[in-house]
């Protein structure tokens, strides 16, 4: 009984994830500019990849033809899901920052762009990032070393 409920939940997650993926693909194809396409891409990665992977893990837990290997399979599925959940937003963040600060492509018409008002020009971005983070000083003793060369 409980295994059937788990199986149906997992299958529903896979199906819904596939539909999410199709929606994201259509959005990625049809949206006019880059920032809107990133909106579709986040739907594609979280709804279209993480959800079906977790669903596949649930299915693998109760899928009897796999035999005793099914826990290994479920472990792989949950690992992939957590990895995508961590990695995909970071990747989107870094690529959008590259497009915004590097001024790639054409920008949509905005009424007010507060990020641009606050931040300096493209050539100063590296400078700015460096200033905001506290770097260890040059003469600081290394924390971990095998041997001084």
């Amino acid at each position: 009984m409980i295994s059937e409920i788990i199986f149906i939940t997992g299958s529903m997650a896979i199906l819904i994830g596939a539909i999410y993926d199709l929606i994201a693909a259509i959005g990625l194809l049809r949206f006019p500019d880059f920032y809107m396409r990133t909106h579709a891409a986040t739907v594609g990665t979280i709804g279209g990849a993480t959800l079906p992977v977790f669903g596949a893990g649930l299915v693998a837990l109760v899928y009897h033809p796999l035999g005793s290997q099914r826990f290994f399979m479920a472990g792989i599925a949950f690992t992939v899901g957590i990895l995508i959940l961590v990695i995909a937003p970071t990747g989107s963040h870094s690529i959008i920052s590259a497009v915004y600060f590097g001024r790639i492509g054409k920008k949509p018409k905005l009424i007010v762009d507060q990020l641009e008002e606050d931040l300096p020009k493209r050539s100063d971005v590296a400078e700015l990032v460096r200033e905001h983070e506290e770097l260890p000083a040059e003469e600081e003793e290394p924390k971990f070393t095998f041997r001084r060369v």
Binding site: F7, A25, L29, G48, A56, G57, L66, I87, A88, T90
Partner: protein
Amino acid sequence: MDITGAFNAVLYFAAVIYTFAFVLYGVRAIRGPTTADIILAVDCLSFDMAAFMVILGIYFKSIMLASGAIILALWAFMLDIYYTKYVLYGEVEV
């Protein structure tokens, strides 16, 4: 309940939709006006392929096949980081 038959039906439906989505992502990667669009398409493509690989691994009943999915999910991250580092900072490794 026939668990294998039910899963095969689910897989058939999911595989058709996933393949169609891969084709659409590929079309965006061909048409993409800037490099960032292509890399965004690669991102979506590789994450969805990792998910598809896990589902296919259950269908093939082989745990050996599914370990490629972890690698594929990890590597797409690297392309993003290198592109950002090149565009914003010029030098990649320094």
